[in-house]
Amino acid sequence: MSALTFSLKTQPAQRVDLSPLVPQLLQGLSIADIAAIELQSGKAKLRVDELFTIEGDDTQNIIIKNSTAKLDFIGKELENATITVEGDAGAYLGIGMKSGTIKVTGNAGLYAACEMKNGYLEIAGNTGDFLGAALPGNKMGMKGGTILIKGNAGERVGDHLRRGTILIEGNAGDYCGSRMTAGTIAVMGNTGKYLGYAMRRGTLLLWNAPQLSASFNDCGSHTLAFLPILFASFKSLDSKFADASVAFNRVQRYAGDMAEIGQGEVLVKL
């Protein structure tokens, strides 16, 4: 079986909701059935074959070629399957994904991996605001799994993060880790203002000293035993995080946000 491949023919005029093109909904359908699926694009509904040429038959392994930032909801609630996006992805990439793998060779838009439950999501480029966050009004963001961003991330990374790991090789924007309940966010580059704003628990692991709010208290420098185990878990990734030379176990620990319950921590490499 070869991967089910959707190659975008032309740039769509409006944004397109790609949530029907997920493995769990395509299982058992013929190419003709898939071609006839209607996708919402602005006010219009477009047949899949109006936008894409379709090849292959393995619905558990989907490739989206020539992808653009107008294709939203790719991999919505993905279960036990693989999606590869060649190009950019739009907003809500991997929203609520339950398991499996999503890889994007370009950039991704807003709310990537928001409310993700488990699995692995990798973006080779940059990503927009609210990575791994909760949808507006919801209280629980990402609940499990791993996100790897090789470029930079926007603002509000891990807003309301509940569990799971977000790894960012580049920089993260303002309010990184805001309102997080638990989980881990690691940023190799720089972080913006209001780091960990109103975070309750969880860990922000940084390679560079951040600009911290007054509501974070210095707990001193420490050697922490869990860090080697955490770094060892990154070894299988195709990432700078897998490189043993970037690992460390000696950190400056800041507790916060003291304006909240103050059980979160910012760990900065020493």
């Binding site: 035993a225 869990f226 060892a232």
Partner: protein, 298 residues
């Protein structure tokens, strides 16, 4: 059967089913990992009165431990899952949590999980932090020397306790030297522990007693000072008998440990005062697992 002048009795050791677990203790160096391990496996020679049988399985190199530090693997055996969990928790809490620089990890996989750091976390008084890494949950408990890291659970497996053999010698020093040689060889075998002091027990027991309150008492048939006073199993030249008890995860593990142990004793041979190898055979009263000495040494 005679090996190097040592008679191997046509008898079998009786063993019984137990529940077992393994934990890995790491520390700043081997010295402190060993101190924690010795504390955790202390007063755990026999389920008769200790609640469990525990021992150090082996020293682990930094490459073999989860956190890349020196470590020691310990195994605990108990008669049931509940008592095993209770013993593990109290020993981890009082002996490992308290030991400087230590960390505690699961040492065995199983579908049945028992708490390791899961309940110890409450010592953190609300400051404890959970981390789920690669599907495993760890607890970081703040303590005065830094942080105590403990994996939430470890596995519980079915196991066998009470594998044994007796070394019959013409003098006490010779019996002990033979047992020391056996223990040295047996400690290289994985999945087994010899829970008695130094691996050797000099007070082997029989099932039952003349006193109603006791369910075990001295094995008078093998007591050399009673040769003329009871129905003895000893010839006149035997002056000392020592026993090695083995708990293991499987029958094959105990077979292997008994084989290398008995072989080490036999290597010393009759020239060093070793006369016979026998076993604790209680006529089927003790347990369903039988380790036939001559089959093991065949």
């Amino acid at each position: 059967m005679i090996i190097n002048g040592v008679t191997i009795d046509a008898t079998f050791a009786e063993a019984f089913p137990m529940k077992a677990t393994r934990a890995i203790i790491t520390a700043q160096n081997e010295k402190w990992a060993m101190i924690a391990a010795q504390a955790m496996t202390g007063f755990a020679t026999s389920v008769i009165a200790c609640g469990c049988e525990a021992g150090i399985e082996r020293v682990l190199s930094p490459e073999e431990t989860p956190d890349g530090r020196d470590g020691v693997s310990v195994m605990i055996f108990a008669m049931g899952g509940k008592s095993l969990a209770k013993q593990l928790e109290t020993r981890a809490g009082q002996c490992v949590l308290t030991a400087p620089t230590s960390a505690l990890f699961a040492g065995i996989e199983s579908d049945i999980k028992i708490p390791l750091g899961k309940n110890l976390r409450y010592f953190g008084d609300g400051f404890q932090i959970a981390k789920k890494i690669s599907g495993k949950r760890y607890w970081r408990i703040p303590v005065m020397d830094g942080e105590f890291l403990a994996e939430a659970t470890t596995g519980q497996v079915n196991a066998i306790g009470g594998g044994n053999f007796l070394v019959l010698a013409t003098s006490q020093p010779q019996a002990l030297a033979a047992c020391e040689a056996a223990i040295e060889a047996m400690r290289k075998i994985p999945n087994v522990i010899m829970p008695f002091p130094g691996g050797v027990v000099r007070s082997g027991s029989k099932v039952g007693s003349k006193y109603k309150t006791l369910n075990a008492s001295t094995n008078d048939a093998f007591c050399p000072t009673l040769k003329g006073a009871t129905t003895t199993d000893l010839s006149p030249d035997i002056e000392s008998v020592m026993e090695i008890v083995i708990d293991g995860l499987t029958k094959e593990d105990i077979d292997k440990a008994m084989r290398v142990g008995i072989q080490a004793v036999c290597d010393l041979g009759a020239d060093n005062g070793i006369r016979r190898i026998s076993a604790g055979n209680y006529g089927g009263k003790l347990g369903p697992f039988h380790f036939h000495l001559q089959e093991i040494m065949a």
